[in-house]
């Protein structure tokens, strides 16, 4: 396995929301790396904190939420220490985001070319308009948007087109990382497939890293190099996509993968039904947050929270099944490297 360069390092990141019912620990001391040029899929159900994570990476958490701890190190610098100007430069030029609903993230009174030119000029003020337009044109063609669409307004474009414009906005500034937060969720299946192809092509051509945040696990299998699984604000498992799907280690990952419908006949004909529902994060379960629903739960799981540990090459799991502890009575499962 070739050594990957780390583009972004997230260390012990925590995000808390203050609500009427108390503090919600939406992201709790999550750590992982994003490598250069990789497609990392971040999956989980609603409320697991994946979208919060995506926004936190760009420090776009608004009150009543806030980042309450941790570091985000990008190219050696901790962006948590950036001031407002540095953040503005960071957002757009280094990291860019695509949202679920492109209609609300595009300015309805700006045409496509105006969008792209504005993005360029905001971050590279010295660029002349014609130069910006030319860059926009090249990019747009690469994304499969016809030239004549450059003059359209967002409402004149289809959902898939709008998403591509969003991707274009991210690329035009040569961002190093594009965060796609449920970017395909509102799209039709064929459009989604085409966008996924496009994202892969962009990564291949430009070397851009992609963080694909989605609850669509099949999409992640289709698209990503590595997969990170989140549950109730914790990162419970992360590793390369094939080993994770072939041999999921964390009980939640196992259950999740077995509960996903598979369109292929004679594959997964019996869907696994996971007991219970995702927990309420104002009163999260003690110890390991998954223990109330876990078929492998041990007494220790309720008492102590396991750490996210690399237990085999490139694979990190946060589960007592694979870790030692003095109070643990059961055997620890060994995983071959």
């Amino acid at each position: 396995m070739t050594e990957h360069k780390i583009l972004m390092k997230i260390c012990d990141l925590s995000v808390t929301y203050t609500t009427r019912l108390g503090q919600v620990s939406a992201v709790d001391k999550v750590s992982f790396d994003i490598y250069k040029g990789e497609i990392l899929g971040l999956v989980g159900e609603s409320g697991c904190g994946k979208s919060t994570m995506g926004k936190a990476l760009m420090r776009m958490i608004q009150p009543p939420g806030q980042i309450t701890g941790g570091q985000i190190i990008f190219n050696g610098e901790d962006i948590m220490t950036y001031n407002e100007n540095q953040m503005r430069d960071f957002r757009g030029r280094k990291v860019s985001m695509i949202f679920q609903d492109p209609m609300t993230s595009l300015n309805p009174v700006q045409r496509v070319d105006e969008h792209i030119v504005e993005a360029i000029q905001v971050h590279e003020p010295k660029t002349k308009v014609d130069e910006a337009l030319e860059r926009a044109g090249t990019l747009v063609r690469k994304l499969g948007i016809q030239k004549r669409r450059m003059n359209s307004y967002p409402h004149q474009l289809s959902g898939g087109m709008r998403q591509r414009v969003m991707v274009g906005l991210g690329l035009v500034l040569n961002a190093d990382l594009i965060v796609a937060d449920e970017a395909t969720t509102s799209l039709d299946v064929i459009v989604e497939a085409k966008l996924a192809d496009q994202l892969r092509d962009i990564r291949d051509e430009f070397g851009v890293s992609l963080l694909v945040i989605t609850h669509n696990i099949a999409l992640v299998a289709e698209l990503s190099d590595r997969v990170a699984v989140m549950y109730a604000g914790h990162l419970v498992e992360i590793g390369n996509v094939e080993p994770i799907f072939d041999n999921p280690l964390h009980p939640y990952t196992k259950g999740l993968l077995r509960s996903i419908p598979n369109i292929k006949l004679n594959e997964n004909e019996d869907l696994y039904k996971m007991a219970g529902e995702p927990p309420n994060l104002t009163h999260p379960p003690s110890g390991c947050r998954f223990h109330p629903r876990c078929p492998n739960a041990m007494p220790i799981c309720q008492k102590y929270e396991p750490e996210l540990v690399e237990i085999s090459s490139g694979r990190l799991v946060k589960c007592w099944l694979y870790l030692d502890h003095p109070e643990k009575e059961q055997d620890t499962i060994e995983v071959p490297a």
Partner: protein
Amino acid sequence: MKDNGHKNSENQNEYLVEIKDLRKWFPVPTTFIGQIFNQEREYVRAVDGVSFNIRRGEVLGLAGESGSGKTTIGRVSIGLEEKTEGEVHFDGIDLSKLPSEDLRKLRRRMQVIFQDPLASLNPRMSLGDAIRQGLEIHYPETADQHRDIVIEIMEKVGLTPARFYYNKFPHQISGGQRQRVVIARALVTNPDLVLADEPIAMADVSVRALLLDLMVKIKDELNLTYLFITHDLATAKYICDRIAILYLGKIVEMGDLREVYGHPLHPYTNALLAAVPVPDPHERRKEPMPKGEIPNPIHPPSGCRFHPRCPYAKDICSEEEPILRELRPGHVVACHFAEMFLDKKLS
């Protein structure tokens, strides 16, 4: 549960629902200027000539992307929307000829499970009350038994302890539980047909399997027939007996689900099946996707609606609209060149 008699009698039709040449066109609002210049009226042709039947006890899936017309067909089938043309028969009854009061009473036998459970529940009505409505409306004479029936059905759908949830309100429970309430509400009148409009699309991934399982179990127990509308072909595999693939207001292929999935005969079906991501990184899609996008339903393409995007299109495809033909037993397809796909398995 009450009144099962009519379901088992011999003089029923084989088909619970019969749809013939259904068209539903929505008029596009005209502008003032347009009216001055006597512009021709334009219509969104949401459903443009659809025919199918639903057998008692089966689950028929209507699958398609946006603009396919699947939701509209569902709504017209149970009389929530009026047809523009065609025939809609429920258990032999022509819905368009029914006076509105009779149609209202007939609703007891046709119920709906909507996509968004939070939006489809009255925020000011307790769960028990909401489920009870069907009984109050259609069986007012047995009012003293209503509460017990509701408790029973709440337990059946897994809302236990039922007495605890009876007085709760929609915002106090989770999404998965809400969908159970919606299901319970639909079942309480002992219907024949249940229209399920993307019933699990908004539920959490880990809860969907539970809900699907619930729906299947209940269908068997209560002798229900489902019209299952979905854009998620993978989910459809687990509940639908037969499936109809819709494109831009027309059925392009229909048949037994495992038939259609195993031997797709229409290029669109094939593309659709290939587009659905498989949760297995070793089975990544290799096929390219059709070019272009779904056209505007106000001006559908001539001939076969899929022809502008179809990799196999020939001249005839833009001139003549293909009709549904049975190429394999119980398996119909609307494509001029479907035969060429008969022997090769495209997927």
